[in-house]
């Protein structure tokens, strides 16, 4: 039985979709069978980030409404054969997602895949609550900004109350993925520091992804950043996060804190 991860944040534009694709690709690269599910019905993006937009025939809503079989809707990645995408519908809206339908699809996926990664839409409405509902693990994507942190805090509250795990009295495993971290700005104090975010949210840290042009470039090329250049700084950070998800104990590097390799790189960029 595979594990279901929800990638969520509350706030939009913090990097949920980018992180879903990057982590999915990283896990698949290490040999696991991974399916990334786009829950953002009506505003789908994951297909673009994964470079599969021209191969979408059926989608999540088709499967839920019985118009297509799950196997017809799943798109296999061209670069990694253990990576699959279940796209969202762009023409329908989130009301087409039903609790029973989502549960069926998730259960079917987790019997086949090692990891089912649900890319949640922003907000706390139907799409987001259904994306988190059946999750075993939550990855809370947060930018080091006050608004993002508060929204993440709200989402953590919902993860602890509105999910199947929470309702059955179990604890939802939650991880913080700090994205778009700019060490130079954090140093100047116009961005929250890592320890500030951790103090407010008080959940374990899965990884820190530095703000990087590599991420933007990869997204626009339709390649998860972990497949575009495996040695780029954000790519390494995502690979490490993926290995931590697998239970490996890898020391955390806070970008900028070591005035070595990272310090030089970002010091130059800020000038």
């Amino acid at each position: 039985m595979g594990k279901v991860i929800v990638v969520t944040s509350g706030k939009g534009g913090v990097g949920k979709t980018t992180s879903s694709a990057a982590l999915g690709a990283a896990l698949a690269h290490d040999g696991a069978k991974v399916c990334v599910v786009d829950f953002d019905v009506g505003l789908r993006n994951l297909d673009l980030i994964m470079g599969a937009e021209r191969r979408v025939v059926y989608d999540l809503v088709n499967v839920i409404q019985g118009e297509a079989k799950l196997t017809q809707a799943l798109i296999r990645d061209k670069r990694l054969e253990t990576l699959y995408l279940l796209p969202a519908s762009q023409t329908r809206d989130k009301d087409n997602l039903t609790a029973e339908g989502v549960e069926k699809v998730i259960n079917a996926l987790k019997s086949v895949f090692d990891w089912v990664i649900c890319d949640s839409p922003a907000g706390i409405e139907r799409g987001a609550t259904l994306a988190m509902r059946h999750a075993d693990i939550a990855i809370v994507v947060t930018n080091p900004e006050v608004s993002s942190v508060r929204d993440s805090d709200r989402i953590i509250g919902l993860l602890d109350s509105k999910t199947v795990k929470a309702e059955s009295g179990e604890r939802m495993e939650k991880h913080l993925l700090l994205t778009r971290y700019d060490p130079a700005r954090a140093e100047r104090g116009d961005m929250l520091k890592v320890e500030d975010v951790l103090e407010i949210l008080s959940i374990p840290l899965l990884g820190i992804i530095p703000e990087s042009m590599d991420v933007l470039r990869a997204s626009n090329l339709g390649t998860p950043v972990t497949l575009a250049d495996q040695r780029s700084v954000p790519s390494v950070a995502y690979f490490q996060a993926a290995r931590r998800l697998n239970g490996e104990n890898i020391p955390m590097i806070v970008p900028g804190e070591k005035r070595g390799f990272f310090g030089k790189m970002f010091g130059r960029k800020a000038a």
């Binding site: 508060r150 805090d153 509250g157 008080s202």
Partner: protein
């Protein structure tokens, strides 16, 4: 029952206090009743199965009028369990018993009506006051201990007594306590202590970043608070109607 009492056990009498609604009718009764009807129509079943005490202190009425009122209320499914503030001569066996020494515990929240109706009635009629009476907690004041952070958007309401949070209260979260509030972490949200009319309640926090603090209805928003308090271990209390604060360090 045919069993014979073999043991001369004494009958046990115990005192017990309950929370009741107290209704204070106003003259003329016809107007007051129509306002009550209006309230009842907005919140169906509000008085159902609730013990109600009629407070007639200061009303110049005779026994017949009082009996009529009790009957009119009974017809509205408001059952009167006792009458407060009546002259002893006014009551007889046909009327509910006299009640004394009631303690006010604060206004009972009338269930929210649909927006439009509520706005209209608020303007038309003063809200029928329904302060609950008689609550004499003989036992220890209960307290609530929360060992997890209170997240943004969460509202923790505990009107029975003190709330202790071992953790932080996030921005956008809210703690409402009948007693004092203790936060062993950072207080970033709102803390409302002594909400049921307890001016002796206090707010304590290890690190003060609150958006709003309130005691017994008096409140201060973050903007009105001394900026020097930020990040400090602070307590708040009321002296009369002025907000006081002091360092805990």
């Amino acid at each position: 029952m045919t069993s014979v009492l073999t043991q001369p056990r004494p009958i046990r009498l115990k005192g017990r206090s309950f929370l009741a609604l107290s209704l204070s009718p106003e003259l003329p009764f016809a107007d007051w009743l129509s306002r009550l009807d209006d309230l009842a129509s907005r919140s169906t079943g509000f008085f159902m199965r609730r013990p109600v005490v009629l407070d007639i202190a200061g009303l110049e009425i005779d026994r017949a009028e009082l009996r009529d009122l009790v009957e009119l209320l009974a017809a509205r499914h408001v059952r009167i369990m006792g009458i407060e503030g009546a002259r002893p001569s006014l009551l007889d066996a046909s009327l509910p018993p006299a009640m004394t020494d009631g303690r006010t515990t604060g206004d009972i929240e009338v269930p929210a009506a649909s927006e439009g109706v509520k706005a209209a009635t608020d303007a038309a009629a003063p809200k029928p006051s329904a302060p609950a009476s008689i609550a004499l907690p003989a036992k220890a004041v209960p307290s609530l201990v929360v060992t997890e952070p209170v997240r943004s958007g969460q509202s923790l309401i505990f009107i029975e007594g003190d709330v202790t949070i071992v953790g932080s209260v996030a921005s956008g979260a809210e703690i409402v306590a009948g007693g004092s509030i203790h936060v062993y972490g950072t207080l970033r949200g709102r803390a409302l202590a002594g909400t049921m009319g307890n001016a002796g309640a206090r707010i304590f926090c290890r690190k003060m970043e609150a958006e709003l603090v309130a005691i017994d209805g008096y409140y201060k928003a973050a903007e009105d608070l001394d900026p020097g308090l930020r990040g400090k271990a602070v307590q708040f209390w009321l002296e009369g109607d002025t907000f006081k604060f002091g360092s805990l360090a």
